[in-house]
Symmetry: D2
């Protein structure tokens, strides 16, 4: 395919910048990626949108996503979770490819509808679980698939942040059940669930049962749009825990928190198999701790060799990558799928399966008992 892909992006803040940057960097580092045109930036606040359009290098902007999705080859849905469903389905129904930020939806119902739309559309539908695209994670996946860890026995995932530690940190949409669906669970836990599915799904099979717990430590917070002293209710979890059982008999624990003092973005996964173990933390994303069958201790592997996934596109060994590079890899894969054979993962189907786990955690919490995922 030689034509340029026109991209429309809904959302111009954190995620908008992350994806715009990824798009901008492809030509220099992934010359075989499809050419892209940052065509239209979509939002509601026209003044902010105009500024962002210039800074992020888009041709123009729109406040009308319904029109925009018809004008582009790929639609990036980076808005709050509550608006994932409608525009994504509309785009897919118009055979416009969609890359939707995670979690896929606010509710399992929404996710199911989106999954169905993807199934009936010819367009590519991807969910932006970017941590699959960390070189160290792809290297870990290859080790596991090659049997280096043997049979998977135990999995431990956690995603720790601390930005809500201060009880006076302001309310935002991320704290609203109505907009976000859930809190640490959907925002952070979704990442971990996708990572675990990606890493051990083939070896351990799906999560078949789980038990979950949600907790909110601070129930209301200052309303940034209100009068001084006014507060809004926090209607989502500040932290969650879960226990997992996998099809092959493996067991696991999950955890996320926005109250873990000292942890800024500590997304960690640890896996034990019958032959070895591995451990990863996003705060040291260039490293993988690996214990193979012949090792006496974990090797601290700097995953920056030319032979490591994606690394040959960047710099020589030891010249570490950052968080944002995961978006470049993700966009490269997504756009290559759009321009090519149409296969991209994590798909909406993958993301729907993650959403089922999120939903099961909530149901288990409410019921006080284990929930089956059959």
């Amino acid at each position: 395919m030689t034509d340029t892909l026109d991209i429309g992006v809904l959302g111009y803040r954190f995620m908008g910048k992350a994806h715009a940057n990824a798009l901008a960097r492809l030509p220099m580092f992934f010359p075989d990626a499809p050419a892209v045109n940052r065509r239209v930036l979509i939002g509601r606040d026209e003044a902010a949108l105009a500024d962002a359009t210039e800074q992020l290098g888009f041709d123009g902007y729109s406040t009308d996503w319904e029109t925009a999705i018809d004008e582009v080859d790929a639609f990036y849905n980076l808005g709050p979770n509550a608006i994932h469903r409608e525009p994504s389905i509309a785009a897919l129904d118009a055979d416009t490819a969609v890359l939707c930020e995670k979690p896929l939806a606010r509710t399992l119902d929404d996710a199911a509808a989106m999954r169905d739309a993807a199934a009936r559309s010819d367009a590519v539908a991807g969910c932006a679980f970017n941590y699959r695209f960390v070189p160290a994670i792809q290297y870990a996946k290859a080790l596991i698939d090659d049997g280096e860890l043997g049979e998977i026995r135990q999995v431990r995932g956690r995603y720790l942040q601390d930005w809500l530690l201060d009880p006076d940190a302001p309310w935002s949409w991320r704290l609203s059940e109505e907009v976000a669906g859930s809190g640490a669970l959907g925002d952070l836990g979704a990442h971990t669930i996708d990572l675990i599915r990606f890493l051990v799904g083939e070896r351990a099979g799906p999560i078949t049962r789980l038990s979950g717990q949600l907790q909110t430590f601070v129930d209301e917070r200052p309303d940034p749009d209100g009068q001084p002293g006014e507060t809004r209710e926090v209607t989502v979890d500040d932290a969650f825990t879960a226990q997992l059982a996998f099809e092959n008999g493996a067991v696991g624990t999950l955890e996320a928190s926005r109250f873990a003092a000292g942890h800024k973005n500590d997304h960690a996964v640890e896996i034990h198999g019958s032959e070895g173990s591995l451990a990863f933390s996003l705060e040291r994303l260039n490293e993988l701790e690996v214990l193979g069958p012949d090792d006496r201790g974990y090797q601290t592997v700097l995953v920056t060799d030319e032979s490591d996934p994606y690394v040959d596109h960047w710099w020589p060994p030891g010249h570490v990558l950052g968080w944002e590079h995961t978006f470049v890899h993700e966009n490269y894969e997504f756009l290559s799928a759009v321009a090519g054979d149409g296969s991209f993962r994590p798909s909406f189907e993958d993301a729907y399966r993650v959403q089922r786990v999120l939903d099961a955690v909530e149901r288990s919490h409410d019921a006080g008992e284990w929930v089956s995922l059959d």
Copy 2:
């Protein structure tokens, strides 16, 4: 009290050696400890017992605990869990002090009977949860009690070993429900539960509810006493997981495994509070990771200063202690209590409360639902 305490010790293998060593080292390092006499070593295999008696420095040995407990001031019950109950109660009823290895008992019923015996006896009754006596743990407890971490929010405990990873590792009594009660849960998890109670019990209150999961990865193992090819059934868990809820709203996760490749004795506790965090692992037992209210990152504190708990008895700063020193501290405290005012913790009451948690994990596993600990 100036008299020498006569000590009788049931058990002469791993734990017997650990406690005999502790007793032997007290005079040089804790000159204010009561004088002790290693009077009698108790067991069943007379030949092995005779050898151990000499090597561990006891006056003599006995195969009859019933007689022995009357001849000593303190009785150390270091046998398999199934024989904790009867001799310990007999000793306490004879007003002989008892130090019993952990977990307190094979079942909650046994533990309750032992707790009751302790309550009606004038003798000191202690349970040997030795990790309370790691200087770094006592330092951690002081920090928490002083409010350095603020209100406790999250607790994470895990105890990882890998000695059963090989499916041909032989069967032993530790794999028998009848003798041990449980597997990783009681052997390892009991330590973690005691540690968590010790560290956050005052701030977070007791564990009020929990959900648990047990798993056995290898169901039968070679019988070391059988014919070649003969196996015995494994009737306990190889690994467990749990979720905890504390009285003050804190949440937590627990885990233990004998299948965690690469982890030999990795007993780790991590605690997050509203003001700070801390982390500890037994494999680096001289260190405590501490994040206080004014810190930007965890401090790696080598807890070997003269001002640190017990350290002034040993060596100058930076001259690290080992695992066995926890037994010296524990014996020092226990024997001081026996010779003095009679107060020692962890008491049988403490250990009974740990046993309730163990029991609740099993009940939760069986029921597939949360269990209340009110």
Copy 3:
């Protein structure tokens, strides 16, 4: 200043890509940076140059630097060390700003001539010691300048790579004294010397005396341009060591190697003062180990807060940066100086002073004695 700066870049491989990327990223992340135009890419191999021109986003290319330097506002000299001198001086004499890769020159004489050219020119002359622009390093510098470490006592620098470990790794210009000047010393040690000057120069004063040692482990290597079996002589050091004495009485050690098995790009600096210590390694470039006056252990600080140097231009806390971001910061500062008040450091004067240290290491090695740097 509203005009766009035209940039000419000599060199299109590793460093060419690193700087081209930096230039490309400025508008999105440093909107207050001067606008730049990647005008001309300069080299000798026309075919390779044409490809690079397209990939790196330049308007065109040239094989004639003499003409090119007159057509641009800033000239980036990223060629091998031996060609730093002539074009840089020519550019400065034409009042074209120069950013020259490190080390400044092949020899001290060359460096002196370049420094003199910078002194007599009105144009900005900078040397691309990019590690000054790591946020953690700038944070470290602020701590030292604020007196957090007290009086500087000891400094330890090392730069470890292992790409020459294989004796059959091919010969390249970096192994030629004629082209590179020196080996690990100039390529790696120059970075460390600049970093140490930057960090402790104000507190500890200059290095006043040193003793150095050079070593070449493999004397000849396969000639990639020769017949099979043909080799070329390695005429530079594979590793060096040095001892330093500073004006204020502080002492230090320096080391670099291309033979340190397992170390890909381990550029580490450790500093001890009368009140505290700090440690940094490039392989974990988002982290700084800091021990302040009130700390019991080093804090592992993730230097990714909004208040940390340059971080507010990028991503939220905990979203780590990579190696290449140092070039963006460096280019931002350099171009701002070109467009603005003309002050940029590290200047040619700074780089000349680094070169004096390199030269002194070689002289000390030859003489077998300490060398004064007065």
Copy 4:
């Protein structure tokens, strides 16, 4: 030999306690060690000596070493460096075995005389460089001897403490050239030099040339025996640095300090070979960082397996040892040599060769040039 060895120990403070403890622990953990009798403790201050005699478990004490050395089978010389020479030589001349604390002597002349006395005596003469007896170090030595690291290229040793950081820390004999000979150099550096000789001596050959630097940061300190405000001069180094060249072409650096804020007892050695690397720090003495030929990163090996040196005498895997255990191993080897075939290393010859390096560092410092050790 079946008889009990009578031991006389000169010195009853830090080192006296460390060795007395080692002697006391042998029977329980090293049953094949010769039986020993703590016969006589030797010193000058009779009151302190009497107390120590009781606490450390000696039969009696003496203020007259000349008599004592004739009454014992082995004489432990644990006094300040200045009194190593005379009693050690007298003991050896009386064919009494000697274990002398490190460094061997105050001066090279003294060391030579002691080495000569050992050579002419039939008695065993050992120097107590205890860090050879860390299991991880012996494991490292075996790896190096087995060629796991290939040809040795680079060695890095450092011993960092911080107990003199406070300028008001009191004067002691360790700060007196007359009593101690040197400061950080002889007290700490001697350990590192012995360790490096032990680890790489066979592969890399001896140190053939070196360059050294001594520095004293605080020239006088409060005299603990003087009037308030009175000070005594510090006549030794607070820190030293050195560069090394080995016979096989390997190069190295050495460093020690009593001013390294935050480092309590950080004795670290790092070695790079043509096939691999390893790293050790005393503050984590149960661990060895190992990078073998097939490894991508350093393995963090917990050297506590049954198959590891000395470990089978102690506890199961993962039950870590402490600093003091090195003394038990050392005493086991020394006493086995005394009772057996008479071979013990580090010998006085070994210690003399360490002293030559110490002396060379001082000579190099004075001369400002490299010193040959041929």
